[in-house]
């Protein structure tokens, strides 16, 4: 009996020993797997971190370099240069007019595009987006052959004594052409995001389409519209290719900041650097101002 029990015990020990061994092996395999997955995770994080750092450096470095290379006294001196004052005034004036034009014209277009289906909608949407992929120089030539003195439409306008090419109006037209898709695309998405049942609810409560648009749809889509307007403003402030082709480079009339930077670069790199800094600073101030102001207005409504 005791032998049997001994044997059983021995067998039991053996069995338990075997189980321990298997468990140990399992444990060691499990630990290995955990270590392997952890090291994979760390490697992945390291790669993502490296990529992020590289991307940040790639964007930040040129901006930092711009500030490093520009001495403050030259910037202050440049600020008093009439060429710079003219260019800055013209840039801010044309970009503001462009942004208002794009918002006034683009908002109904974006709303119709978001809400209604009509014949040729695909074509219209593609046409609206076309300036985004069109090289600015091509846009400039296209505008010239359309609105220039001998252009398709310009030819007729010329007979009424209206000349657009190489005027401030041409600067604005070029800017509207290249920056409108930035606003319209963003506005279209914002309008699409407004729940249709809100619009329907307002209608059944007695609101006309226009009242509904002003009091329900517009406030809800406002943040998206503001982002779109800022994008359009920034794009028109930086517009170069289409402007120089269609409007030329005349100080006080068509020479915007990017054109002034280009012109200055032909002679003195320092001046063009200072101009760039001024442009960056102004764009930044305008964007912060617009965002702060609209946040206040939105809170009030």
């Amino acid at each position: 009996m005791s032998k049997d029990s001994d044997q059983a015990e021995t067998g039991g020990f053996r069995e338990s020993g075997l189980t321990d061994l298997v468990n140990k092996e399992h444990r060691s395999i499990g630990t290995d797997a955990v270590i392997a997955s952890r090291s994979r995770e760390i490697a992945l994080k390291a790669v993502i971190g490296l990529l992020l750092t590289l991307a940040m450096a790639f964007i930040a470095l040129p901006v930092i370099a711009l500030f490093f290379r520009s001495p403050l006294d030259t910037i202050l001196e440049t600020m008093h240069d009439p060429v710079v004052i003219d260019a800055l005034k013209l840039s801010l004036m044309t970009s503001t007019i462009t942004t208002f034009t794009v918002v006034i014209m683009g908002t109904p277009i974006a709303y119709v595009s978001a809400r209604f289906n009509y014949w040729g909608k695909e074509l219209a949407d593609s046409l609206i987006d076309l300036p985004v992929i069109m090289p600015p120089a091509v846009a400039g030539i296209a505008l010239l052959v359309a609105f220039g003195r001998m252009g398709l439409v310009g030819h007729y306008l010329n007979s009424f004594g209206i000349s657009i090419a190489f005027t401030t109006m041409a600067v604005i037209i070029a800017q509207v052409f290249v920056s409108s898709p930035f606003y319209i695309r963003q506005a279209r998405t914002s309008f699409e995001d407004v729940d249709l049942s809100l619009e329907n609810a307002a209608r059944t409560l007695g609101a006309t389409r226009f009242y509904t648009f002003i009091h329900v749809i517009l406030p809800i889509a406002m943040n998206g519209l503001i982002s779109g307007a800022i994008m359009a403003f920034a794009r028109s402030l930086g517009e170069f290719g289409a402007t120089i082709m269609f409007a030329g480079n005349f100080q006080g009339r068509t020479q915007t900041m990017p054109l002034a930077i280009y012109t200055a670069m032909q002679g003195d790199l320092d001046v063009s650097l200072c101009l760039s800094i001024i442009l960056v600073a102004f764009s930044f101030v305008v964007i912060v101002l617009v965002k702060t102001l609209t946040r206040r207005v939105c809170k009030k409504c």
């Binding site: 729940d195 049942s197 809100l198 329907n200 307002a202 209608r203 409560l205």
Partner: protein, 235 residues
């Protein structure tokens, strides 16, 4: 009295309906998803246009394909409570309820008195300043109803008004809703999946299948249609 006799081609089938509802009576519309219940409400409200037929309310034509009449939704005087409640998220509770009165250019003092009356009745005056996006489902439902009732509609349309609430809230709101509709005294159409809604809130009911009424009768009779509806066992 609401009289509807319309035809509308939907994506998969034709919606073909004829129904009359007297003042103060409630019709419960039941049926599977996609059978045309919400489409019917939208057609009656003027948010969609029938292909042909006639819709009239208290003898006045809202839509008549033969006479070329199609009154826009803002002029139909219909109170519509949407399934999602469709409260304006950027407005406060007060502004949501006042919306229909402001559209009508009512003086501010009258608007204030009416909104107070409706919000008091719904027990929501204390949260009048809260944004509509920040309140509970039950409160949203009450506000959506108050917003629809404050314009003194001549017809009430409710699209699954209790489906967004949990079961306990549903039972309370069902009674409340019934009382509000009765007090209003206008014809009412309620879309629902729940048989409890039909029996408690309805006077009579229609079962829709692929755009057609396949069964109709008194609300109590609906239990015998039973299959495919929620809450059969509870009743």
């Amino acid at each position: 009295m609401l009289e509807v006799n319309i035809k509308k081609g939907l994506r998969d089938f034709d919606l073909c309906l004829k129904l009359d509802i007297d003042r103060g009576r409630t019709l419960m519309l039941v049926g599977d998803n996609g059978c045309g219940k919400t489409s019917l409400l939208n057609l009656v409200a003027g948010l969609d246009t029938p292909d042909e037929g006639r819709i009239s309310l208290d003898g006045r034509a809202l839509f008549d394909s033969e006479k070329g009449i199609n009154i826009p939704p803002e002029s139909r005087g219909i109170g519509y409570v949407f399934q999602s409640y469709a409260l304006f998220p950027h407005m406060s509770v007060y502004d949501n309820v006042a919306f229909g009165l402001r559209v009508r250019n009512m003086p501010a003092s009258e608007i204030d008195a009416l909104v107070k009356e409706h919000l008091d009745r719904a027990g929501l005056w204390d949260i009048r300043k809260a944004k509509a996006a920040d309140i509970s489902g039950g409160q949203k439902q009450r506000i959506a109803l108050a917003r629809a009732l404050i314009i003194e509609p001549r017809l009430l349309l409710l699209d699954e008004p209790l489906s967004a609430l949990d079961v306990r809230k549903q039972a309370i709101m069902r009674r409340e809703l019934k009382e509000s509709i009765r007090a209003c005294g206008v014809p009412c159409i309620i879309v629902t999946h729940d048989l409890r809604d039909v029996v408690i809130m309805g006077d009579f009911a229609c079962l829709l299948e692929r755009g057609k009424v396949v069964l109709h009768g008194k609300a109590e009779e609906v239990i015998s249609w039973g299959s495919g509806l929620d809450g059969v066992d509870d009743i």
